[in-house]
């Protein structure tokens, strides 16, 4: 599950009707969370020690599968995932901190462009990144077509090196946005105080950096969780490189005959447990000390003014970085989609062709065209993003409320913990839970239908979206709503005229993020799609797996373009339709 931002929620919303909100809201929210996340995930995890619980074996309690999961192929997958995720989280946070400092705290050129580039990186799914790199570097791929020899790096890329690079670029934006939020709250007065009292530049940094320790710790925790739970790279690059990662071995355990759900459940437990210590540590640090640095007296951040030479050097460095992490894979996929016989030796040499794009619309060798799956994905995106948006706002308000007591704290910990639940675990959990005869007969019968996939996708997006909203919601002073109420606005009008405008930008970005992530989501879609209604990501993977990389790549390019197109149109409509005041305010992380 994605966690976009780990912003710190400190203030409380209005005290209006706190008791009523507690009694009604609390129960409703926990029922929704139980149906969406808790019950499906638990019904899968229990198989780790109790296969008989869901007729997957004869024992009510056994530890046999625990030892089995840590041996052989699955054991290697767990070990690989752990060390790769550790390394990736450190690399991602290091890079993110450097970039955040350059973009937010110096006069490096093109700061707005780099912020947009980071958002594009955020919406790029890991399998698309992998595809771009693969198309570029593979023998007779895009680089070969452009006359660049990549043989020297090809072998390296298809192994831990390539996997670490791609996963680092995937984790990077999560770490970047968290660290950026921390840096923006770090006013110049702390630097000034250290230097005035005689600190050298190094000592000043040693003094000031701990202030953003929670942000750094959050960034490491989230990068680690994101990497551990990533399925796109494991399913593509990991599999092709014979470098098993835990999410793939989990998928493999349930998708190969005979399926071993108990071993898969043990892997799922390991995936979740591995992230708990970091999240708990981050949570403890946040509670034990006060890191509230934002106040009415906080002055705006001061940028370090580079002279001309260093400024150009820093700008070139950032440009090169974004070219490598974003430009290269996009270019690889784009060029690859025009290369005839992509990845195959041809005696005719390199030729460019539009054939793949024709096949996207009317495939010549069976298979589906992209049209219907892409429409399916867009419909899914529309429903999932809208439902998630509404639920996330409700949950975020609850998360930052001062009156929630234990229920609020439990919600907080639960949502943090849910970040560690990989999509593939959620998908399998949904199969078990929503296929129970009690559920299908007495509660809801949606097994093998599109609504089940939608529910799972909402469940997957909700924890991340809620945390994403919690920061901006907590930044809205409760007195703004109270002032509206005191001056004659009813509950709804007060929300419409004060909270909605202030949240509009983050609501839009949150919606777009969930929309694009839903379109490109692979793990849950692969497990839960109804037979005749496959989404675009599944169709594309089918082409790529069936030795038609050109068509798959063209479909990927078109899907990415469609996603970017929706973002551009949405932003344009936002500019066109909202009052000027709405656009003046908004979440600083989005604006910057």
């Amino acid at each position: 599950m994605s966690l976009v931002s780990q912003l710190m929620a400190t203030s409380s919303p209005s005290g209006l009707d706190a008791k009523r909100r507690f009694s009604l809201g609390g129960v409703a929210i926990w029922v929704v969370l139980a149906l969406l996340i808790i019950a499906p995930v638990m019904s899968f995890l229990i198989l780790a020690v109790s296969p008989r619980a869901f007729q997957q074996g004869s024992q009510w309690f056994t530890l046999r599968f625990v030892s089995e999961a840590f041996r052989g192929y699955t054991g290697r997958g767990i070990a690989d995932s752990l060390w790769v995720s550790t390394l990736v989280s450190v690399l991602a946070v290091g890079l993110a901190t450097t970039l955040a400092w350059l973009i937010h705290r110096t006069n490096v050129l093109g700061r707005r462009v780099w912020s947009i580039a980071m958002w594009i990186l955020l919406i790029m799914p890991s399998w698309m990144m992998t595809l771009g790199w693969t198309d570029l570097l593979q023998p007779f791929g895009a680089a070969h077509a452009l006359g660049i020899n990549t043989r020297w790096i090809y072998g390296e890329f298809f192994g831990p090196f390539g996997i670490i690079i791609v996963l680092t670029t995937v984790a990077l934006p999560f770490a970047y946005f968290i660290v950026s939020a921390g840096l923006q709250g770090l006013g110049p007065e702390y630097e000034d105080a250290a230097r005035i009292h005689g600190a050298s530049r190094t000592r000043m940094l040693r003094t000031v950096l701990p202030i953003i320790a929670p942000a750094l710790l959050s960034a490491i925790a989230i990068s680690f969780a994101e990497t551990m739970s990533d399925f796109g790279v494991a399913f593509t690059l990991g599999y092709h490189s014979h470098f098993p990662l835990a999410t793939y071995t989990l998928f493999s355990a349930i998708s190969t005959y005979p399926a071993n759900f108990s071993v898969a459940a043990v892997i799922a437990v390991v995936l979740i447990l591995s992230t708990i210590p970091l999240i708990a540590l981050q949570s403890k640090v946040m509670r034990s000390r006060s890191y509230a640095v934002l106040s009415g007296r906080t002055r705006s951040v001061r940028r370090r003014e580079f002279r001309r030479g260093p400024r150009i050097a820093a700008t070139l460095g950032v440009s090169l970085f974004f070219f490598i992490v974003l430009g290269v894979p996009i270019l690889g996929a784009l060029v690859g989609s025009f290369v005839e016989n992509l990845g195959i030796y041809s005696a005719r040499g390199v030729h460019f062709t539009l054939t793949y794009y024709q096949q996207v619309l009317s495939p010549s060798i069976g298979g589906k065209s992209l049209g219907a799956p892409l429409i399916e994905s867009n419909q899914l995106g529309l429903v999932v993003a809208s439902c998630t948006g509404v639920l996330a706002v409700v949950l975020a308000r609850r998360l930052v409320a001062s009156s929630g007591g234990w229920s609020q704290r439990v919600t907080d910990v639960f949502l943090l913990g849910s970040v560690a639940v990989p999509g593939v675990v959620l998908g399998v959990g949904y199969i078990f839970f929503y296929n129970l005869s009690f559920i299908t007969h007495n509660v809801i019968n949606i097994y093998k239908t599109l609504p089940l996939l939608m529910l799972a996708l909402v469940a997957s997006s909700l924890p991340g979206q809620t945390r994403f909203m919690a920061g901006p919601v907590s930044q809205i002073q409760p007195s703004l709503n109270e002032a509206a109420r005191v001056h004659g606005a009813g509950r709804l009008r007060a929300w419409q005229t004060t909270n909605l405008p202030l949240m509009s930008r983050i609501l839009l970005w949150g919606w777009l993020l969930t929309f694009t992530k839903t379109i490109s989501e692979l793990a849950i879609a692969q497990i839960l799609y109804p037979p005749s209604q496959e989404p675009a990501s599944v169709t594309i993977q089918a082409y790529l797996a069936n030795l038609q990389p050109g068509t798959g790549t063209a479909m990927t390019v078109l899907t990415l373009l469609e996603m970017l197109g929706v973002i551009v149109v949405a932003m344009f409509l936002y500019r066109l339709l909202t009052p000027r005041g709405w656009r003046r305010v908004g979440w600083s992380g989005v604006q910057s």
Partner: protein, 370 residues
């Protein structure tokens, strides 16, 4: 029923008001009657419950028990709770609470959007208010383009725009610097009084309270300990807490020597047992009782040694003010008087005679009202 149609200047009544939060009692059995048109200032330290009381009046908080009546209508009781938008009041918030996405004009016009006035009349009203608070030239700006003082003027104009019978002020000057605070205090006093509305204003600054109020209510630990005119509060504080919080130059342990008139006692200072000081008392004491003497700064004067009758003292510090000099004087071991005014300067270390005026000295039980 909306209260908006009522005549301006509504009366307010609080009966046995009680408010609990999860871990503390914020208000305890508060009873209060506010006459229509009164400018009431609630004075108290942080945590005394004044903000909670104001929020209960506004309808932002629901009292745990008790009853609130505004303009004869019960707005909060065990059975009824009128939401804030239907109480027909206005409020100026401590953090201004200006909506950042709305221009100054739209912020001020906000309360008028539900009124029955024509748009032209509403615009006229907004223009008039902006003119009165001196920010007409800033009408199209957004709040983040204004200084703190300008933002507070917008908040004031918005509160006045509501044409409310009751205006609430939540420490509106606490975020401003001294100059702007004095200036805005005068404007709040004149502009709100001109509307005729009843005002409830909270602050922790006694000088602000005394300057603004028709009546001052002093809150401590959730209880209303005294309510009276500023003069009465200053001259006859109900207990040691009120005396301390409304400003004393010094507080010394004393022994009651004798009663020397109605509500007047002679007391002896432990560090000058031969000296006698006359002080007011609101309760009866017996000779030999150990009490405390509270001395208002206005009740102390300084003289050159030997020139007058009084206690001997030594100047510890002196500060220039625009009207003269304020001194810190030691009158015995560990006993100091601060803010002692004299038109002429006494240098640090010099010996002086300290004279006490009985009308500004109170003998009290120091444990009462703690």
């Amino acid at each position: 029923m909306s209260l908006k149609s009522r005549e301006r200047a509504v009366g307010v009544s609080l009966q046995h008001l009680h408010k609990d939060f999860a871990d503390k009692v914020a208000l305890e059995d508060v009873n209060l009657e506010i006459e229509p048109g009164t400018f009431l200032v609630l004075l108290g330290p942080s945590g005394s419950g004044k903000t909670t009381l104001l929020r209960c009046l506004a309808g932002i908080e629901r009292p745990t028990s008790g009853e609130i009546t505004i303009g004869g209508t019960v707005v909060a009781s065990a059975r009824a709770f009128v939401p804030p938008e239907r109480r027909g009041l206005a409020m100026v918030f401590q953090d201004y609470a200006l909506w950042p996405h709305l221009s100054v004009r739209k912020n001020v016009a906000y309360p008028l959007r539900t009124s029955s006035r024509a748009k032209s009349q509403r615009d006229e009203r907004v223009d008039d208010l902006l003119e009165r608070v001196g920010i007409a030239h800033l009408a199209e700006r957004f709040p983040n383009q204004l200084s703190g003082g300008e933002q507070q003027r917008v908040a004031l104009a918005r509160a006045l725009a509501a044409d409310a019978g009751l205006i609430l002020f939540d420490e509106p000057l606490s975020n401003l610097d001294a100059d702007r605070r004095d200036q805005l205090r005068v404007e709040i006093a004149t502009l709100t009084r001109a509307t005729g509305a009843t005002v409830v204003y909270i602050t922790h600054d006694q000088s602000e309270a005394f300057a603004l109020a028709d009546r001052v209510g002093v809150l401590n630990q959730g209880r209303l300990v005294q309510i009276d005119t500023p003069e009465a509060i200053y001259r006859s504080p109900a207990n040691a807490f009120v005396a301390r919080f409304t400003g004393v130059a010094g507080e010394f342990p004393v022994t009651v020597v004798d009663e020397c008139g109605p509500a007047h006692y002679e007391v002896a200072l432990p560090f000058a047992p031969d000296e006698r000081i006359e002080a007011l008392a609101l309760e009866r004491f017996e000779p030999g009782d150990s009490m405390s003497l509270f001395v208002r700064a206005a009740g102390v004067s300084l003289a050159v040694t030997g020139s007058a009758k009084g206690t001997h003292g030594t100047i510890l510090d002196v500060a220039f003010t625009s009207r003269g000099y304020e001194h810190v004087v030691s009158v015995g071991e560990g006993a100091t008087l601060s803010k002692v005014f004299a038109p002429t300067r006494f240098d640090r270390g010099s010996r002086v005679q300290v004279c006490f005026d009985a009308s500004s000295c109170f003998v009290m039980d120091p444990t009462k009202g703690k």
